[in-house]
């Protein structure tokens, strides 16, 4: 069995005195979409943010336990989060393009990490990322227009392009469609299916239908614990834990 891309063991997260994540163990495979589902406040976003150490930016947050990517403990003292985040990209709930041009938005990551040697290479990276995010055709004629001038769905695809421009290996998506209309949502979901061919994708979603559509594996969180993890089909048709069953059938959350 190939080594899991991301493996978490005994992860606990405390916000000051609140115990937000309780003893989570999970293994996430590469080139696959894994969905985190659960009712509001169950900790799925918090756990997601542990994977790229975004919780470091919050003073009162304490993370303990073991999280490894490709076998390396990302909370090791030798690891610089800055490098980690080039390897693990993130797309946020509300599209947040920088007030810069479309080109500069996508080029930002590669520039700071020094991933291109000259302008031609940078242009290439930008084009590749925009193509992969299915935005190239709409953007190619206005690369220097402000990114904030795009529609909601386009902005989110721009954020996806921005995130994949650093050639990460893992892509974390925190409810990426919750601020989008149904058509834009469908476009992004189609995109996710493409993306899983190059990355390991972890997507937090509060829509069970979305999880069922895009993911191969699903993890159900409840009150800070990982209740059940398995193939998406099984979770939604024949869950083992009664809590999972309650959530699926709409009795909780």
């Amino acid at each position: 069995m190939t080594q899991a891309k991301i493996s978490a063991q005994g992860v606990q997260v405390h916000y000051a005195d609140t115990h937000a994540i309780k003893d989570v163990n999970v293994e996430i495979a590469d080139k696959e979409v894994t969905a985190f589902i659960g009712p509001s406040g169950c900790g799925k976003s918090t756990f997601l943010r542990c994977i790229n150490r975004m919780n470091d930016t919050i003073d009162i947050c304490r993370v303990t336990g073991d999280i490894r990517i490709d076998g390396e403990d990302i909370y090791d003292a030798k690891v610089d989060p800055v490098q980690l985040r080039a390897k693990v990209g993130m797309v946020f709930q509300k599209p947040n393009p920088f007030p810069k041009s479309i080109y500069d938005n996508v080029a930002y990551g590669p520039k700071i990490h020094g991933l291109s040697r000259n302008k031609a290479e940078l242009d290439e990276i930008v084009e590749k990322s925009l193509r992969k995010a299915a935005l190239w055709n709409e953007a190619k004629d206005r690369l220097h227009a402000p990114g904030t001038g795009l529609s909601g769905g386009q902005q989110q695809r721009l954020c996806i392009a921005r995130a994949i421009a650093t050639a990460p290996e893992v892509l974390l998506m925190d409810e990426p469609c919750s601020a989008l209309d149904p058509i834009a949502t469908a476009q992004v979901e189609e995109l996710i299916d493409d993306l899983r061919q190059s990355f390991s994708v972890v997507i937090v979603t509060h829509s069970m239908q979305q999880a069922a559509r895009v993911s191969q594996k699903t993890a159900f969180f409840h009150l800070g614990s990982l209740v059940e993890f398995g193939d998406t089909n099984k979770i939604f048709t024949n869950p083992e834990d009664p809590r999972t069953e309650s959530y699926i059938s709409g009795r909780i959350g």
């Binding site: 490709d70 390396e72 990302i74 090791d76 030798k78 610089d80 800055v82 490098q83 050639a167 290996e169």
Partner: protein, 440 residues
């Protein structure tokens, strides 16, 4: 993409982290520069000015012969008053010469020069005492008399034997005698209450200059500002915040107020000069005019802070009052205003503190005058607008314009006094804010 281990920090990341550290250091450096500037400012002012709170006095036994002081022989005040301070000067001279001789001190100075060791103000002190207590005539009375500015400077370290040799107003022999007198216990430097209570003194007598008139003038002006700016400011804020319809006129008023808050203070001085003094012909440099100008200046500040205080009261309070049938006016005055009161008070105190320190507008309305007597707020001649007065910051400015180096110490001491007043006012404001602050 090549697999790079996360456990090794690559070179580029190291460079970026170093850049991060530098950036952070700049930020910290900026804060340190600001704090160091503050410390240097306060230290320099306090070290130059703290000596103003000490003053050198001599204990001198002054003979008060009747022949000289009371020609009438019956203690007739009118006759006694005819003897001016010049007449007393020779008596003081005799007094200090005698005191020096009695202490067994020798000097090469002439009697006249010894007499000059006392401040020219000293004669007035003795005269006032005699006129208030005529029965001391015929005796010798021991007085604590102000010594002159150069001797005071010597005991404070400003004047040295070397500088005295080049100084036309003193001499090394004079300083030496003063030192001898100090050693004999006849001269001492003690706490200078007179600095806070005495009126200003003329150019040649920095040792006698005091802040009494300035403090009183500032007090009058603060009262005028409080009585005028607070009600008007609160009234305007209530209208703008609670009653005014959202139309163009209200917009214009609001833009007006923001602009007025940013107008340079000197422009208010020009306004005061042109309208209050020229057009309405109020008295120049009266505390009322000063107060009016400062009121206009403080009004925008009070309006802005009062509006913020009113805005912070949640709409639910107003709705609750209206819900039981109160009128809009009643809901504002009975409910909103009391809840906003701490914020309004804090804003007013801060506005007053700003007004206390203002100088430029007061200069323009004529407050440069050298004011020797305590001004009355109301007198039959000056009417409701009071007599000429000055204010603390204006007095500081005045003193900086005088040639005698003794005034540098006075000006700095005045600033210490001003800063202490401001500190007290701001402390009260902060205390009130902490005590009454509500978190909605």
């Amino acid at each position: 993409m090549t697999q790079k281990s996360l456990l090794t920090v690559d070179a580029r990341t190291k460079k970026r982290n170093a850049s991060e550290k530098r950036f952070k250091a700049f930020g910290l450096g900026a804060i340190i520069v600001a704090m160091v500037a503050l410390v240097i400012l306060l230290t320099s002012v306090v070290s130059t000015g703290s000596s103003a709170f000490k003053q050198t006095y001599a204990t001198v036994s002054v003979p008060l012969p009747e022949a000289k002081l009371d020609k009438s022989g019956v203690r007739d005040l009118d006759v006694m008053k005819k003897v001016t301070t010049i007449g007393y000067t020779s008596l003081l001279r005799d007094g200090i010469v005698g005191t020096v001789a009695d202490a067994g001190l020798t000097t090469t100075l002439s009697a006249k020069d010894i007499g000059k060791m006392l401040s020219k103000e000293a004669a007035a002190t003795v005269r006032d005492h005699v006129l208030a207590n005529p029965d001391v005539i015929g005796t010798s009375v021991e007085f604590s008399l102000l010594m002159n500015g150069r001797i005071d400077g010597y005991f404070k370290g400003r004047v040295t034997m070397e500088s005295a040799a080049l100084d036309g107003n003193t001499s090394p022999e004079e300083l030496q005698l003063a030192q001898d007198m100090a050693n004999a216990g006849l001269v001492e430097t003690k706490f200078n209450w007179a600095f806070l209570t005495a009126p200003d003194a003329s150019d040649q007598r920095p040792e006698a200059a005091g802040l009494g008139v300035a403090i009183l003038g500032s007090l009058y002006m603060m009262i005028v500002v409080l009585v005028l700016a607070l009600p008007i400011g609160v009234a305007a804020s209530i209208y703008l915040e609670e009653f005014a319809p959202k139309n163009r006129w209200t917009d214009i008023i609001e833009v007006n107020i923001s602009n007025l808050a940013a107008v340079p203070s000197i422009v208010y001085g020009i306004l005061g000069l042109a309208i209050f003094i020229n057009f309405m012909e109020f008295n120049q440099s009266s505390p009322l005019v000063g107060g009016l100008v400062l009121t206009l200046m403080t009004l925008p500040t009070i309006i802005i802070s009062t509006r913020a205080a009113l805005k912070s009261v949640p709409p639910s309070i107003r709705d609750a009052a209206l819900g039981v049938g109160a009128s809009k006016m009643q809901s504002v005055f009975h409910h909103v205003l009391p809840l906003a009161a701490p914020g309004i008070l804090t804003g007013t105190i801060i506005g007053l503190a700003q007004a206390l320190g203002e100088t430029a507008p007061l200069l323009l309305i004529g407050m440069v005058a050298f004011v020797r007597e305590y001004p009355a707020a109301y007198s039959p001649d000056a009417g409701l607008f009071g007599e000429a007065a000055t204010a603390l910051p204006v007095q500081v400015f005045n003193w900086t314009q005088r040639a005698d180096p003794g005034f540098v110490e006075r000006a700095s001491g005045a600033i210490i006094t001003l800063l202490i007043f401001l500190l007290i006012m701001n402390a009260i404001a902060i205390f009130l804010r902490r005590k009454f602050e509500r978190r909605w």
